[in-house]
Symmetry: C2
Subunit: 177 residues, 2 copies
């Protein structure tokens, strides 16, 4: 995955975009940032990546100007990750990927992972890019998300499994000491 | 890149989609199919991948139901690749990636790679998802594409470089024989 190539060899915007986001893990990290996970541990828990994989992606995304680090604790120094304007602007791609994934990569029996309500009209937004009810273009700030029961449970299970793995790692460390 | 996992471990449609398209080369192959390159050599020439890289992607995309092979020559047997309905349905993602890439991954001096005319209104469509002129949603069948001068030249140069490399490979093979 080449990031910030010194000499862009093509004018193709899709190739330029894919130089930055042409990697499954980067898109999953973006998904988490859009879902409101801003801390490293939460992103790691929900994507299922190793610390190294997530750290590399966040570093590349910072270099490419998609995320910025903000310190939220002085001692110890701790950072959270926020989307920049360039990162926020990626939302239509995420929405289009979601629509394709829900329509073509899931069976009829599986529920939507997340339902969006289009705040201006108060009705379910559907899969976009226009609101299924009022036909206005969907904007991120105008959507309220309602995770489905199964998807909520799945995320909760990942959070708990991640905490569990961290505690057992601490126990193992303590036992080693 | 996992394709067609037997047990999907998440309901997330973005994760499901990225299992198939979460790879730069796959998206570049899709771009070529959308641009009307249907033959292996043309796809290879324009993406710049090795034969192995392109063959693997096309095979995975066929397994995932995005492309279908059609025989266009009996002797020798030759195939071309066509998008299926599932592949065609990926177009909104490509258009959204294009918009993001044109807006955020290029400098002001660089021209648009491709301009689209929105056939129903006859005006430039802009970057979507709605027509910049008539505000109707952009559909693939309603767009006519006009590659820019620099981007046309770039594609022509890649075609010629590819042909050149093939001829010198044939010469080398002939000399080896």
């Amino acid at each position: 995955m080449a990031i910030n190539k010194a000499v862009p060899e093509t004018l193709c915007p899709i190739s330029r975009a894919e130089d930055i986001v042409g990697d499954r893990w980067t898109v999953l990290v973006l998904r988490e940032l859009f879902m409101g996970s801003h801390r490293f541990d939460d992103i790691q828990a929900q994507t299922g990546g190793t610390p190294q994989m997530i750290a590399t992606r966040l570093k590349n995304m910072e270099s490419a100007g998609l995320v910025a680090r903000h310190r939220y604790s002085e001692r110890p120094p701790r950072y959270e990750y926020r989307l920049t304007e360039k990162g926020e602007a990626f939302y239509p791609v995420v929405i289009a990927l979601r629509a394709w994934g829900e329509t073509w990569c899931k069976s009829q029996e599986e529920e939507l992972a997340v339902t969006y309500i289009h705040k201006p009209c108060g009705e379910p937004a559907g899969l976009g890019p226009l609101c299924a009810h009022c036909a206005q273009p969907l904007r991120r700030g105008e959507l309220s998300s309602q995770p489905g029961v199964a998807y909520s449970a799945e995320r909760q299970a990942r959070r708990e499994a991640f905490k569990g793995s961290r505690s057992s790692a601490s126990v193992a460390q303590a036992e080693d000491a």
